[in-house]
Symmetry: C2
Subunit: 427 residues, 2 copies
């Protein structure tokens, strides 16, 4: 840093609706990482960014400054081309589990750095940790070796990747400044660009169970991230996908692993299969394998083979029985007709309250907890039939989970068409 700035002056620039210069952005991100800009200053700046916005240049520079706060990974020594996927998070979103081995089975390596769940959205690592023996923490060397050997790895991001983002995200989480598109986009993309993937497919969710409740907001986020990735030389595309209803028939940890294995075995719920294949096709096209049909790798069992090798490589036993919860409670249909709505947020909160999710970072989750659905929107139901089965080790949780589901579904008299999973493609 050759220049030095004053934090209050930089806050005032954004407060007064002006543009931050490149050197101002470089300085403030670096100084925040070093502790020279204190948290109360960065949170005021984050609120000013949330309310007054940043333009493309500012977001791009902010992203680069966060990348420069840490290490960059480099997959150029691999014999594989690489593609990665990022989902903005939803309920029942286990897609990473079948997707990573499926794409690897098609010849493209998938270095999937994942996170843990918070609130009503589940975390990929929490789900995989329900497999006995499986571990999320790999060294960079272990990750590279597994990628070369198996072609797929799903593990925790190390502390060296974009430390500015880790510090800023923790601050935004307690200061009401998470919901800023420039900060969401730069947070996601700084990690993905630093990770060094050659191609990236973004699954931007929209609906009640998603972070973005409106399609306009989701579209703006998707367009911002595609531009950031493209500017950084990463072939990037985004799918806008529906999260008004949960994905598949399970929301939890072990139950989502089981459903993913069903998909890898050639079965599974149609929406999960559809989205897995759609994302796999985008990853293959982005990585230069447009001629390969991932449906073949599902049908042939090749994807399942990679799954077993991927789980084993990280200490997991792919044949071990998955944990189950001690107690169950059945929610039944109150009327006969068509299930016209099953709200993703209601199911997500119910699963969280059953013990599948956590309220703050570091909390333990229950491997067996969650919601298993017996009907999805469009299905006919009869009064008294099971709609959902709730699972938990701690039955005192049922009451609050049932309360979360109240008003979370509708049973109507007319038939309805299911909502398509993929709403649009951007990039």
């Amino acid at each position: 840093m050759s220049e030095s700035f004053d934090a209050v002056e930089i806050i005032a620039v954004k407060r007064d609706r002006h543009e931050l210069t490149d050197p101002q952005i470089d300085w403030v991100v670096d100084a925040f990482t070093r502790g020279v800009v204190v948290p109360e200053q960065m949170s005021a700046l984050a609120m000013a960014i949330l309310l007054n916005g940043m333009n493309r240049r500012e977001i791009s520079r902010w992203t680069n400054a966060m990348i420069d706060s840490g290490e960059r990974m480099d997959f150029s020594s691999l014999s594989w081309a690489t593609a990665d996927k990022h989902s903005t998070g939803g309920v029942g979103d286990k897609i990473t589990l079948p997707l990573a081995p499926l794409v690897a089975a098609c010849g493209i390596a998938v270095p999937q750095l994942s996170g843990r769940g918070l609130g009503h959205t589940g975390g990929t690592l929490d789900k995989l940790e329900s497999i006995p023996g499986w571990r999320a923490d790999l060294s960079n060397e272990e990750m590279m070796a597994q990628l070369e050997d198996v072609g797929a790895v799903i593990c925790a991001a190390g502390p060296g990747l974009a430390p500015a983002d880790k510090k800023l995200y923790a601050l935004r989480d307690v200061t009401g400044t998470v919901e800023a598109i420039p900060l969401i986009a730069s947070s996601i993309m700084s990690k993905k660009i630093a990770e060094g993937t050659g191609s990236l497919v973004l699954d931007v969710k929209v609906g009640t169970g998603a972070f973005m409740k409106s399609e306009a907001m989701a579209r703006e986020l998707a367009e911002t991230m595609v531009a950031l990735g493209t500017d950084a030389g990463v072939r990037t595309v985004a799918l806008l996908t529906d999260m008004s209803t949960p994905l598949g028939l399970t929301a939890g940890n072990a139950c989502e692993v089981a459903e993913s294995v069903e998909v890898l075995a050639g079965g599974g719920p149609s929406d999960v299969v559809e989205l897995t294949l759609a994302l796999a096709r985008e990853m293959l096209v982005a990585a230069g394998k447009a001629d390969v049909d991932p449906a073949d790798a599902l049908a042939s069992g090749a994807a399942m083979d990679v799954w077993r090798r991927m789980i084993s490589a990280q200490g997991g036993d792919p044949d071990a029985a998955l944990p189950t919860a001690k107690e169950t409670h059945v929610v039944t249909a109150s009327a006969s007709g068509t299930l016209t709505r099953l709200d993703a947020m209601a199911v997500g909160v119910a699963a969280w309250r059953l013990g599948a999710g956590r309220s703050r970072p570091g909390e333990q989750v229950q491997a067996g907890a969650g919601v298993v659905m017996h009907a999805k929107p469009g299905d006919a139901v009869t009064a008294g039939q099971p709609l959902m089965t709730l699972h938990t080790d701690t039955p005192e949780r049922f009451e609050r989970a049932v309360a979360a589901l109240e008003g979370g579904y509708d049973i109507g008299t007319s038939a309805m068409q299911p909502v398509p999973v993929v709403i649009d493609r951007i990039g």
Copy 2:
């Protein structure tokens, strides 16, 4: 507090342009004072308030919550009615010094809790501390006794008055959130209402040397404060006054005391006399003494008598020689003509750089440092005549002070009318 809230939810209310409820305001101010709401959360909320505003009810409740964080003083046991004045701060603004004894000489007690200077604006306590022996810190009992005995006291506010405001102001100062009218108004009025004065006259300054650069902003601040005072049962009126040029012919510490004594002796610059009398009349009217003319108390020497007793009561020697600076530097007129502009901010920054002001709380100031002006806008000047004399103990400061004055004045060829000091009256 019977209810408990979540800081992030309260930040989100204001972030999303909604109104905070009374219980939310009570909780967040109290929880911030207790350290439950952490600084990074309050600074995000302050930025959201700055950008999205608060309505009258919210500002009033916020003010009350800050008052409730500490003690309330009570002057009802005095045999005097009370009136106080608050200035939003300017350059050469020594008005409190002649005003407090003048109003007391007219039969209304003045409990003036004052502050220290920061940046380009001077502080009343810093000025008075140039009088040998004078002390700013009084106990509540000493203050009450002096008020009853002398009728005027100018001292530091104790730590018990609106501690929430002290903590919040320190935070706003480092987070770019000072410039929020709801927060400025509630900060000033919480202290003045907690102090317990019966009447209050606000001197809201507008112009380059003032905090409010535009008349519209100054007017909004004045109206907000008058409404807050009135709602709290304090008879409150505001004068909008000019701060595009310094008040009087001095900006510093001891030099401003000397000029104040000139006014009390019946002389002094006309703008200082005019504003002192205008504010005194407002205070007398508000406190029920509309029939008394303060000009009489200046002419008779009654105000000077109270000044001497007031200074003596706080350990000062009203007859002692005031400190003078070791070094002087004369700035001369570069042309002949009429001085058409003398910028308050330029003079304020010059005085600050000469050592009369401080850059951060707690810094020492020089008693003898400052700027003595030899001409004011409207005066004829000839090339080479002294325009200003700069005073400091540390001559290496002259260079930066002279630089601050560059472009800070204009000499024209046409005559001009001086700008009136009092722009408007609100209340």
